[in-house]
């Protein structure tokens, strides 16, 4: 006996394009070519989350990747994550300095509040920063009132500004989680670009009720969490995948006469470990050593946004 209502068989959004109004369908092969000043064909965008994992998370509405796992007090996971902000991040800063790579650090408000020195060090080393929500237990979802969600956003931006004097206009949500209203609330609070959605390989315009955002592409498939932690692959296999991606994208950039992007999220508590950081360094150097490959910044990418 069926317990499915007839509404399960009506399809209100069965029409051309996606089932939302944020952007239209657009096959990548039909896009106008994108070029960057300097003429690089392969842009490498490295994003480094600086996250705070509370020892006492609510786990609501779900537990963020990397959150506490054992019964309270889970000092094991708390301290391994904190290691990232104390040691791993500085190891990455040193590596990026050696490579001459300008990365984007996604900073949570709670990190700026607790470790303002780290945020200032990131900026003084010449990197970009964007906001990454308050902490990994302040997740954005549709159950939040406008007041609470606006509070998460403004408190984060205010705290980062207090820590380092710079108010970010870019955003990455904690755990890349959003509610239906999140993009519009970001736009209404002065955010110009975000990187939560992974629907494209190039920057796209993202409509909201409060104005357009630039949606910057940021892959979930090749980052350190996916390959090293979730897939439990060894570092050399990760390096091979990054190299294969760079080769493929460069070839495609040539054939389509347009920029292609290799986007990589690396976490200080994952990639910043002693036994991993050299593999990451070799991998990034391998990409940057390719002809016509160069690091890109959010500014490069938002400027490349189609009209």
């Amino acid at each position: 006996m069926s317990i499915l209502p007839d509404s399960y068989f009506t399809y209100a959004k069965r029409h051309a394009g996606p089932d939302h109004d944020h952007y239209p369908a657009s096959p990548i092969i039909d896009r106008a070519p994108i070029t960057l000043p300097g003429g690089s064909s392969l842009g490498l965008w490295v994003v480094v989350p600086l996250e705070f994992f509370p020892l006492n998370p609510s786990g609501q509405p779900f537990k963020a990747p990397g959150a506490m796992q054992t019964p309270y007090p889970d000092l094991r996971h708390y301290t391994t994550r904190d290691y990232g902000n104390r040691v791993g991040a500085y190891r990455l800063l040193k590596l990026f300095g050696k490579l001459g790579l300008r990365a984007t650090f996604a900073v949570q408000g709670a990190v700026a509040d607790r470790y303002p020195e780290l945020v200032r060090d990131v900026l003084s080393d010449g990197h970009d920063i964007c906001a990454h929500g308050w902490d990994t237990d302040s997740l954005h979802h549709s159950g939040l009132s406008a007041e609470v969600e606006d509070g998460y956003i403004t408190r984060t931006l205010d705290t980062i500004q207090t820590a380092c004097g710079y108010r970010p206009d870019g955003w990455l949500s904690p755990a890349r989680a959003e509610g239906f209203a999140t993009p519009a609330r970001l736009a209404a609070n002065g955010i110009n670009w975000f990187a939560d959605w992974a629907h494209d390989d190039l920057p796209t315009r993202f409509r909201t009720e409060a104005g357009d955002l630039a949606a910057l592409p940021l892959s979930n498939e090749l980052d350190d969490w996916q390959i090293l932690i979730n897939y439990t692959r060894p570092e050399h296999e990760w390096a091979a995948q990054v190299a294969d991606a760079a080769d493929w994208l460069l070839d495609e950039a040539g054939r389509f006469n347009s920029l292609r992007l290799l986007t990589l999220t690396v976490r200080p508590y994952v990639s910043g470990l002693p036994y991993r950081v050299k593999a990451l360094g070799d991998s990034l150097k391998g990409v940057l050593d390719r002809a016509r490959a160069a690091g890109v910044t959010p500014r490069d990418l938002t400027r490349a946004l189609p009209a």
Binding site: M1, S2, I3, L4, S7, Y8, F9, Y11, K13, R14, H15, A16, G17, P18, D19, H20, A25, S26, P27, I28, I29, D30, P61, F62, H141, S142, G143, R176, A177, E178, G179, F180, D196, W197, A198, H199, D200, D201, S219, N220, E221, L222, N230, Y231, T232, R233, E237, A240, Q241, V242, D244, A245, A246, D247, W248, L249, E252, R260, L262
Partner: protein, 317 residues
Amino acid sequence: MHSDPNLYDFWPYRDRPKITWPGNKKVAFWVAPNIEFYELDPPVNPSRKPWGRPHPDIVPYSARDWGNRVGHWRLMEVMDEFKVRGSISLSVAMLDHHPEIIRACVERDWEFFSHGIYNTRYSYNMNEAQERAVLEDSIKSVMDATGQRIRGYLAPALTHTERTLDLLAEYGFWYSCDLFQDDQPQPLKVKGGNRLISMPYSLEVNDVITYGVYHQSPRAYADALMRHFDQLLEEGAETGTVMCIPLHAYLVGHPHRIGPFREALRYITSHRDDVWVTTAKEIAEFYMANHYDQSLADIARRGNARPGTGFNPQGGL
């Protein structure tokens, strides 16, 4: 509820009558791109949640949308390079959402079969009228959009009822990709007089299994595909085998994965003297015309033919 679906009879792999594919080929090889639509805010089926996180679960949603904006075109280019026509496992709503993809597939004479309306609408708890409506929608919508009469089915997200395969036979489908019991086609035991066969879909070399379940590397996947092929080619000398590569552009289409996949496809299609590079529908048509009766007779000869049809072990109505 039954302990055994009774949709097919036991048929040991040893000493089967020989299948010879057209041109004396040993392996019938087909590629099944799943061209799917997953909804941002689908209604909830009590038997299965569509997404892990509260809606909108934008990480997996946008990853799948990426497949239709970026990955599909990359995969299609690689298949074109080696002259492989796809047999598309289609979320039928894709006809409406992304006609640009459908047009590109029609231009290439790819085959369409139904994979339900959306991959976020599950068959669990459907009554017969509702399940019929999905099949009728599938047949009519694909016919209207492409002129093709679909002959194959893979239930959406591999969700079934006990009547699914009976209905496929009644509606004139030729093959089901829903069963993974063999590397050769086999007649299915369904109600009514229409013939329906099980089409090998090689679920174990599906990129969803490789990446989502086994968490393999792309080069390991390519290696597995080539070894899988080598074995089926060797066995195909004795009696013809079927190899399918079920794919999802949102997985295999990524730049770190498509290169190794391309090498595997190059390897397999370089054996065209021994390999029939074809579509599921052509395999089904050939098998039904030339080997269906032979298979049934061999199963009967072995004393393995059990009474009844699927989920109806005693037979009758």
